[in-house]
């Protein structure tokens, strides 16, 4: 599968395998499987009032 591009200022290039692996680890997918609700890898926890 073709890796997506990455852009740093005006430079656009294909991601390296390592960069792509890191991107996938964040939960990123090439296509949005669920078009109704954008689901993401939730990292939720309860916040207290003092924070």
């Amino acid at each position: 599968m073709t890796r997506p591009n990455i852009q740093i200022d005006d430079l656009v290039r294909e991601m390296t395998e390592h960069e792509y692996a890191e991107l996938l680890a964040t939960g990123w997918t090439l296509e949005n499987v669920n078009q109704e609700i954008v689901e993401i890898p939730r990292q939720t926890e309860t916040l207290t009032d003092s924070e």
Partner: protein
């Protein structure tokens, strides 16, 4: 006459091509214009910093040299372009990949309110949206270059009749000069990222 802005809008006399230098006074015209320009510089609020055109099929765009000591607070806007699949856009300060606090409050048009939050995210989520007919982001960034917490607030536009606001912060004292805009899924092509600074008075 000197500029009367901001009390009222100036109405200077325009010289004709055939006007002599003394009617209206050429030197007075310069004086008026100088005064008006100084008023503009004094009272302007939002100042363009830079823009970045989004490339083809990118999952992230890094924008460098956006924040500096010149301004405390900034506005990041994204418009135009398209995405390969609808998604929410995310914002990351360059160099920081953890510890993002965010709280999304979202409601449907029928006023069903929900929310979610985190203080261990890897970026700020829901700071914009990417549709196949265009990208939208309008994110306020507070104090990114100062050695204090960076905070953000942005509207969120969902895809199922829901809208909301996301607030976020980074609990550190890192001074940021750049940021990264990312897709949550798929890629984006085209569109423009614009950065404005709120002029410090």
């Amino acid at each position: 006459m000197a500029s009367s802005f901001p009390t009222s809008i100036d109405n200077f006399t325009d010289p004709l091509a055939t006007s002599p230098l003394n009617s209206p006074s050429h030197s007075l015209q310069h004086s008026n214009l100088n005064d008006a320009v100084e008023k503009i510089e004094t009272y302007m609020g939002l100042v363009f910093v830079k823009s970045q055109t989004i490339g083809s099929a990118v999952s992230s765009v890094t924008v460098s040299d956006a924040f500096s000591a010149t301004y405390d607070n900034y506005l990041i806007q994204v418009s135009g372009g398209a995405v390969s699949t609808q998604n929410e856009l995310r914002l990351q300060m360059s160099g920081t990949t953890s510890g993002y606090y965010y709280q999304l409050i979202i409601g449907t048009w029928s006023a069903t309110i929900t929310g979610e939050g985190s203080k261990i995210a890897t970026e700020w989520l829901y700071t914009g949206m990417g549709a196949t007919n265009g990208l939208v982001m309008n994110c306020q960034v507070y104090l990114p270059y100062l050695a204090t917490r960076t905070r953000i607030v942005a509207p969120y536009f969902g895809f199922v009749g829901d809208v909301g606001h996301v607030h976020g912060q980074l609990d550190n004292a890192t001074q940021y000069t750049g940021f990264v805009i990312k897709t949550s899924t798929g890629t984006m092509t085209g569109g423009t990222i614009r950065v404005y600074g709120y002029r410090n008075s």
